[in-house]
Symmetry: C2
């Protein structure tokens, strides 16, 4: 039976709104915070509880699909064949823990490796960005978004992950130098939102599939490019050094990579 | 005659609300953008027009005072004796130009070099942070703020100016490493607000008096320290490498400076 994407989108929107209510309620209680790979890579009881809640609901909505979740409550996914849901229950966990702000919930839905629907929920501002090729656009709550201006690197701000810039991985310092300036917001989801709104023209960070799955669907729908820092397609099942950028800025950045520029 | 600080505060609040109305109206028209010291140091017609508007009103409110303004429409101030108003009409001009968001208006009022009242207006969120020792507290619009938690450096996020970190000025990379992470928001006013709200525990940047005058008054009232990166008092009439931090984080950072740590 053909998928009713409109209905599926409405179902996911409702699911995320319920998840938001639960997260906000738990957020003001004492959090249980654990380290994953180190003291700057955190997970809380809310990340885990929310992933379990979301995946349980997704299995009801779409029993045949595979689900890949950040905290490991989904499937052990080894192929992108068929339908794949990719879930980040709390993106920007450090912001969640330290700021109680500037974090997101994200869901991307892919079919045979191709993005269909994306959802990024700016929880504290209560704005749910959703859409994709199956809906023919991207909306911020009920308001459809226009495509951001196709800015050249010199004409806009670029979002960065701070370790990359401090270590000058992949000429990131030259890229920042060539841009109008760098911003660091600490959440891939919030960075993706800023690009959709034209507040930054791109973002460079090491990311896992759950960090970029939803944003890739939404941004590609708005004409923004997603690739590895070398311009290759993103691998949906592993870590990537991700470059998100307007068409012009992507060209400028790939040229810096090719020229192997150092400051 | 003794100054009625309560009344003066109300007058400045009303003035800033009128300035906000004018800035928002002009913001959606085409901006005239000029470079000051380089392509990353901008000024617009709105910065200039708003400073002229504010300074004209300040001269009516307080005819005997000196006024120091970022764009040069105030006095040529060479002494902090008497009453001194320090005005930043648009703080975070790059954000204003590129994002139409994440910028602030700021006014600090000093008496013989001592902070009395501070005002930081988060224009797009329409929240005016105001207060100081003359009012015995700090308010976000009508809501009084509590003091932020006195976090150690390891326990919180720190705001940074990106050139400092990229060039590793004053051991900023070691400071970031010792913290829970770095954020870059691109406006001293927005950084000061985040510290007041406990979202970051400090901020390090080269700043001019108009960048820190208002924030110093508000943050000191909330128990947060402002100094040079060496722990000395800020010079109110020149550039400073400014360290804003909770008491504990200030101690941790001054220790890193003293130890001359490199990563």
């Amino acid at each position: 039976m053909a998928t009713d994407w409109q209905q599926l989108s409405r179902d996911v929107e409702a699911l995320l709104k319920e998840a938001r209510r639960q997260v906000i309620a738990k957020m003001h209680q004492t959090l249980t915070v654990d380290e994953k790979t180190g003291r700057k890579d955190l997970v809380t009881n809310v990340d885990k509880g929310n992933e379990q809640f979301l995946i349980r609901a997704i299995r009801q909505l779409d029993p045949q699909a595979q689900v890949l979740g950040e905290e490991g409550f989904g499937d052990n996914v080894t192929s992108v064949k068929g339908r794949l849901w990719i879930v980040d229950p709390i993106d920007g966990t450090m912001n969640f823990v330290k700021q109680r702000d500037n974090f997101a919930m994200m869901i991307g839905i892919y079919q045979d490796g191709v993005g269909q629907l994306g959802f990024i929920y700016d929880v504290m501002n209560d704005v749910l960005y959703h859409g994709g090729p199956q809906l023919g656009g991207v909306w911020a709550n009920q308001q459809q978004l226009g495509a951001p201006a196709d800015l050249a690197l010199a004409d806009g701000l670029i979002g960065m992950s701070s370790p990359l810039v401090i270590k000058d991985v992949a000429h990131t310092q030259a890229i920042v130098h060539a841009s109008a300036g760098m911003r660091v917001y600490g959440s891939a989801g919030i960075e993706m939102i800023n690009i959709m709104l034209g507040k930054t023209l791109g973002y460079i960070s090491y990311l896992k599939p759950w960090d970029f799955a939803a944003g890739q669907v939404l941004l590609n729908t708005l004409g923004v490019r997603t690739s590895t820092i070398d311009g290759q397609p993103l691998d949906m099942l592993s870590s990537n050094l991700v470059l998100v950028a307007t068409k012009q800025a992507q060209r400028d950045i790939l040229q810096i990579e090719e020229d192997d520029v150092s400051l």
